[in-house]
């Protein structure tokens, strides 16, 4: 028996034990369908173009115990929203839906919630968790959602969030992945932005031995705007992969994307960002940037920003850089008496802060700022 099969079987045993207690017939069939897709696909392999640089064999090699709280059967879940989830995306998303532990957040029409709404998850040793969050920001509402993943051990988090930004709603979304350095993490964010809606996301990736985040933002009516920012800071042998898709399917929407990476030691990052501007999406304004700072000769990043434009009346830009700290910036700090180690940290911090600084919620900004400093082991 191969490791792959053993894994599928361990999930299979858990799945069949749990599925019988799922009373909701619609959900029952969704879960079964998703699990069948997982069985067909298995976990992705490097033969798949989308997973070329991210080898999840170490995840497949482990016989994970499905967390008891998984599935949380008996929930009342609007299945039409779950049906919108693109679970056939890959083996992870299929598995997520099969075991989905669903949480639903509905922000009522015209409601403004000032306090951030936080979802915290921490996997346990040897266990797999499958959070599945659904956020509906009803028309004219305004809120901030925080997802936080902070396992302290060798765990598997396979998570999904579906976000529906309805007409003129404004949703701010922070995703903080600070799992332990041994943990495995896969997460997907699926967003639709409707007429005049505004979605503002920042994803921070600091943890995990092997992590990947897929984010897909789709404009479904005119006048939408999205900020899709992110930061990954890696050291040791950490591996992180971000795949993003911004889909301009309708006219007159704006998207801004700013992803930054800081890589030390033998860490490795992958950034793949696709921006689609569909045939009728005139008046699109899309910018995308991915900048990477390599602090070690052994670190590596594979970045691929891609623009696919099928309309002429658009304003689009994209770019990616991979580089080291600038000698002139370093000399400037040295010339003011700042010792080299601190000067390098300060410049690295500044590079990362370009993402953190844009965060509007002061408490979150301070917390993330602290995480960045902690990662650099710097007192600034």
């Amino acid at each position: 028996m191969t490791a792959e099969m053993a894994k599928e079987n361990s999930f299979g045993t858990a799945f069949y034990a749990l599925i019988n207690s799922e009373q909701d017939t619609a959900l029952h069939s969704i879960r079964e369908k998703a699990f069948r897709v997982f069985q067909e696909k298995g976990l992705p392999t490097v033969g798949n173009e989308d997973w070329k640089y991210t080898n999840v064999a170490p995840i497949a090699a482990i016989d994970w115990t499905v967390d008891d709280s998984a599935m949380a059967v008996g929930q009342i879940v609007p299945t039409e929203l779950l049906n919108a989830f693109r679970f056939e995306r890959n083996g992870f998303t299929a598995l997520n839906l099969a075991f989905a532990n669903v949480a639903i957040l509905r922000i009522s029409k015209e409601t403004i919630i000032d306090e951030p709404i936080e979802f915290d998850f921490a996997g346990e040793a040897g266990k797999a968790i499958f959070p599945h969050i659904i956020v509906i920001a009803e028309s004219g509402s305004k809120a901030t959602v925080v997802e936080k993943y902070a396992s302290q051990t060798k765990s598997l988090t396979n998570t999904a969030i579906q976000i529906f930004v309805e007409d003129n709603a404004n949703l701010t979304h922070y995703r903080v992945q600070k799992e332990s350095a041994e943990a495995f993490h896969y997460g997907v964010t699926e967003v639709t932005v409707n007429r005049g809606g505004s979605y503002n996301a920042t994803s921070i990736n600091l943890g995990g031995a092997l992590s990947r985040h897929d984010i897909e933002v789709k404009f479904t009516a005119e006048g939408g705007e999205a900020w899709v920012d992110g930061l990954y800071m890696l050291n040791g042998t950490q591996h992180h992969d971000t795949h993003s898709v911004i889909d301009h399917t309708v006219p007159n929407c704006t998207s801004h994307q700013n992803y930054r990476g800081v890589l030390n030691d033998k860490s490795r990052a992958v950034f793949n960002g696709k921006v689609f501007v569909r045939e009728n999406a005139h008046g699109t304004d899309a910018e995308q940037s991915n900048k990477n700072l390599l602090l070690s000769n052994d670190a590596r990043v594979d970045t691929k920003p891609q623009l696919e434009i099928f309309n002429d009346d658009v304003k689009c830009s994209h770019g990616a850089t991979v580089g080291q700290l600038e000698d002139e910036e370093l000399f400037y700090l040295l010339a003011r008496g700042i010792p080299e180690g601190l000067a390098r940290n300060l410049l690295t911090y500044g590079f990362a802060e370009e993402v953190i600084n844009k965060i509007g919620v002061e408490s979150i900004k301070r917390e993330l700022d602290g995480m960045v400093l902690n990662r650099l082991n710097a007192k600034i």
Partner: protein, 250 residues
């Protein structure tokens, strides 16, 4: 003596630019180093500050009797050597106040004196900002990012005010300044001038010296000081240009 440069030969990429430069600076003095483009003015500034791409071929530089050339750039700064950059560098993501507080505290640590926490430092910084009429809104902004040419130069003088160096080398600080910015920068420098420090003004034009009166003027040509005098020498240069001194350097 504060600074003593003896027969300094230095250059970049294997090309000798300073060809036996001598200079002596005492506390309380302001020296102007003038010269045509390519005479080695900027090389002198950068060699004194310890810029890594410039190499010293031979000669000696003593700062308070200590060999300056064997110190790293950050050590030189903590000892009290300051260079105001001709082209101040932008440091994105790092706020002006963070940057200045870290630099200030490193100096305090070096002197065995008490460091300031962010709140205390902010009060100190506000006081110092008056020297160059700088609005405190600049404290929160990233170092030099999006600053105009004049704002960048004022920021350099603010750094000088905060760090209180023993020796300040102002490398072409007047370049790219309009008359108002020049006045503010020059007045700032005049306020910082004292019997306890020395200032070296490196400049191509006499204009700055209308505002900051030097005690000594040195004319640099072809990597050597070819003429020295008082402030009246600067006026003479303004009138006659550099050609007559250039000949002396060849």
């Amino acid at each position: 003596m504060l600074l003593e440069v003896k027969d300094l030969h230095a250059g970049i990429d294997g090309k000798e630019i300073l060809k036996g430069l001598n200079l002596q600076v005492n506390k309380g003095e302001v020296h102007a180093i003038m010269g045509p483009n390519g005479s080695g003015k900027s090389t002198l500034s950068k060699v004194l500050a310890g810029h890594p791409t410039y190499e010293v071929i031979s000669g000696e530089v003593l700062f308070e009797g200590k060999n300056l050339l064997e110190l790293e750039p950050d050590e030189r700064a903590r000892e009290g050597v300051f260079m105001a950059f001709q082209y101040p560098v932008e440091v994105p993501g790092v706020s002006n106040s963070q940057f200045l507080r870290l630099a200030y505290n490193e100096k305090m640590k070096h002197l065995g004196q008490e460091e300031l926490d962010p709140l205390e430092f902010n009060d100190y910084l506000k006081e110092k900002a008056k020297v160059v009429e700088m609005d405190p809104q600049f404290f929160k902004r990233s170092v030099n990012e999006g600053f105009s040419g004049g704002e960048k130069k004022r920021n350099e003088i603010l750094q000088m005010a905060v760090l209180e160096p023993k020796l300040a080398i102002l490398d072409e600080t007047d370049s790219g300044l309009d008359i108002d910015a020049l006045r503010i920068v020059a007045e700032g420098v005049n306020k910082l001038r004292s019997s306890e420090n020395a200032i070296i003004l490196v400049t191509h034009y006499q204009r700055l010296l209308n505002y900051i009166q030097p005690d000594f003027v040195h004319v640099l040509a072809n990597g050597k000081i070819v003429k020295e005098g008082g402030k009246e020498l600067a006026l003479e240069l303004e009138e006659k240009g550099y050609d007559w001194v250039k000949a002396a350097g060849n």
